[in-house]
Amino acid sequence: MLGLGKKDFTLFLAVAAITLLAPFILNPFPTGSGLAQFNAGYPDLMQRFVIYGIFAIGFNILFGLTGYLSFGHAAFLGLGSYSAVWMFKLLSMNVIPALILSVIVAGLFALVIGYISLRRSGIYFSILTLAFAQMAYALAYSVLTPLTNGETGLQLTLDDPRVLDGGGRPTSLPVTELFGMEMRDTASLGLGAWDFTFGVGFYFCAVVMLISFYLAIRIFRSPFGMMLRAVKSNQQRMNYTGLNTRPYTLAAFVISGMYAGLAGGLLACMDPLAGAERMQWTASGEVVLMTILGGAGTLIGPILGAGMIKYFENIFSKINDAVLHQWFAALPDGLEDFLVTIIHPFIGKGWHLTLGLMFMAVVIFLPGGLVEGGQRVGRLFRRRDRKAGGAEAQAAEQRRTPAE
């Protein structure tokens, strides 16, 4: 259906269902209860989940299929954000022109950077992309401040022209919209002790992500995707058969750059501010981590990885000692203090430690990422089905063989 195989279509339907029902799924604990701390079902974080999901899906098209490890993809994310905010400032608060410009600008830069960087392979390629991104970051933070507003980040002001939105200086900052639907609009639903929030922005991002995901599946299954996989398994052999692989890898690079630009543009649509930190090497590293954590080369892995990392960043960093004391308040005093002391280093200001330990644990025990973890659990339940997992298992399998 929709040009997808049966397994892929089921996967797509599952992702669509989970995404669209996210406001329920991510809010399992009643509002006001002690465990509400772990709820992630508020618009800002849900938007981040799907946006970084798009970023990681795009990155996976390059890294998962061709094996080219780019360490500079955050540059395209940042470029997308800057282009979108400039569109809001100059043209209109409608998100469509902003997103179009984000994708185009990111695509053009990806074409240039990819054309140069793809002349080398392996770690030399990684360092070339890293160098371009770091230059973009350093310049955006300082010298290019007139364009980027430097450290503070590019933001809207009351005096922006916004030519399409009709003149006149508003009294408060305008908000991003899609033909009249404001991105920050929310509706909430109270069901007993639970409280669910549905944001226009989130559903817009979710639809964009589903489209991106659908396109990614099509790319994975197309002859073009097959060609990219062939590049990964043995580029030399491809070259000996007289085939020039460069156009294929460049196309993959540009496509994944455009995905990053789209994600950057969406970030700006949800919150019209573009900061230079979005382009720093740590941000590029983050998408690499998301992809590997979820399972590089698998379809769903990058989305899972993105969700995981953003969840840690936003939820674990907010647990402080006072919250811990509340959780364990029912226990005897000595035990309560003991537990708080034990857990203290891993939460709040120590959330990085938890993240580092998790990276290590996943790589050591689940070389195929979270997807492999899921498959192992799945296999426990249906032992008979030897070929469990289908396409996803193949990808995870392929990855485990060393790339040398």
Partner: protein
């Protein structure tokens, strides 16, 4: 073990009550007329400070101050500045009878992350006020977010002119001083110490805050007769500043001004001293180094290198007024060391917010803005300043003498400290000594001053 009325005890009873009710304790904007109106018996404040990255220790100190302020508001501890505050509306029963609860987040000192963290406090935890921060970029970004979302932002440590200049917002308030005030307070002392015939060489961190500080200090020193030999921008986080310091030796300058903060300042100052700059004679005068913005943590990081170096500060625990002493005592007794000036500003901001809500009789951000502008009681102007803009909320007893929250731009005006690295500190905490308390008249400026021009407060936004 005697069971007094401890913080944990209160938390426990609060948690039990909370679990029993299990109802949302705040309302969405559509239902109440403003974002996150508290409905239960608690009100939630959001403390957004750097917990990872270079400023994590400063963030930790801010968090300590916030926790202390919350205790005092809830009637625990010794009450700190509640007794010395000129407004006596806060009686230790929370804010408007609601117990104060708080959530914390990590800004990582990045504008993007700080905004995401503040956003989650607003959307998920129902925070009605956001405070904290240790750098101007994130402060400005979060202030803009609070304006859009319809909550109050009480800035923490932010020194850039832009926070209450070109990026000012109606929902945002800054108690901390700014680069212009450093420029107004410090140079007269420098002229007194080093003479008016000097050539200054600026090394400036290459981002917005660095530029505004360089602009302010340069204008002020040149007005006193100093020449500016050169201004050089250095990359943030450069680490090794040697290649920026060696040209100073050959420039004929006899003063080096370091417009750096945090780790950059620690490294550039330490390395400048290693290069023997302070042992040199240029133009027949001793070579001097100046660090316009000081903090206790930077001073500790630079160690010996800060001895005799001049700079400015918003506040210092060694001041002798009743407010400072009360705050230093309760902070020192709880944590075992004196508070930093970042901690002070965060503590004061929290109390000021609580007081404004009490005077307004409402959590509605627009009512709070009116109260902090002095339009619902507490209005006044600073003595000795003849200006139409000299009006707003006037208070005292919070450590800096009579202080005005100016209505025109939401900037506090108060005395500013000129400090110097102590030659013979006796403890790790008195490595800075107060040279002069610069009176507020001297650091006053008009809201339309060129270094602050281009901004607009806009209208307060309650979020509905």
């Amino acid at each position: 073990m005697s069971r007094h009325f401890t913080r944990r005890g209160v938390l426990k009873s609060g948690a039990v009550a909370g679990a029993g009710l299990a109802l949302p304790t705040y309302l969405r904007a559509q239902e109440s007329g403003f974002t996150n109106a508290p409905t239960g018996d608690t009100v939630i404040l959001g403390f957004n400070v750097p917990q990872t990255g270079a400023y994590a220790d400063e963030g930790a100190d801010e968090l300590r101050a916030f926790q202390l302020a919350v205790e005092h508001l809830n009637g625990e501890g010794d009450g700190g500045m509640l007794q010395t505050f000129s407004e006596q509306n806060l009686d230790g029963t929370g804010i408007l009878g609601k117990r104060v609860d708080y959530v914390t987040g990590d800004t990582q000192t990045k504008s993007d992350v700080a905004r995401a963290s503040a956003q989650s406090m607003i959307q998920k935890d129902g925070a009605i006020m956001i405070s904290g921060g240790s750098s101007s970029g994130p402060a400005i970004a979060v202030q803009a977010l609070c304006q859009e979302a319809g909550v109050i932002f009480m800035a923490g440590l932010t020194h850039s002119n832009d926070t209450t200049g070109k990026d000012k917002k109606a929902n945002g308030f800054r108690h901390f001083f700014n680069a212009y005030m450093s420029g107004a307070a410090l140079p007269p002392i420098l002229a007194e110490q080093y003479g008016t015939d000097r050539r200054a060489y600026h090394l400036t961190a290459d981002y917005t805050w660095g530029w505004t500080q360089e602009e302010s200090i340069k204008a002020a020193t040149e007005a006193l007769g100093w020449e500016t030999a050169n201004t050089v921008l250095t990359p943030v986080g450069a680490g090794d500043f040697s290649s920026y310091i060696t040209p100073v030796l050959q420039s004929g300058a006899d003063v080096l001004i370091l417009n750096h903060y945090g780790g950059d300042m620690v490294n550039s100052l330490t390395q400048a001293v290693q290069f023997g700059l302070r042992d040199r004679q240029v133009n027949g005068k001793n070579f001097e180094i100046v660090v316009p913005l000081y903090s206790e943590l930077m001073a500790a990081g630079a160690g010996e290198a800060i001895k005799g170096i001049y700079g400015s500060m918003n506040w210092n625990w060694q001041l002798q007024d009743a407010g400072t002493q009360a705050f230093t005592r309760s902070f020192g007794e709880k944590y075992g060391f004196p508070p930093s000036n970042a901690a002070h500003t965060c503590y004061v901001q929290t109390l000021l917010y609580a007081d404004a809500v009490t005077r307004a009789g409402s959590f509605n951000p627009c009512a709070v803005v009116e109260a902090l502008e002095g339009r619902t009681g507490g209005s006044g102007s600073l003595e000795g300043i003849d200006s139409a803009s000299n009006e707003g909320f006037l208070f005292d007893g919070m450590g800096n003498g009579p202080t005005l929250y100016r209505a025109a731009d939401h900037q506090c005006f108060k005395d500013v400290l000129v400090v110097r690295g102590a030659e013979n500190p006796t403890t790790p905490y008195d490595n800075l000594e107060i040279v002069e308390v610069t009176p507020v008249e001297q650091v006053w400026y008009e809201p339309d001053h060129p270094q602050f021009a281009g901004g607009d407060l806009g209208e307060c936004n309650p979020g509905a």
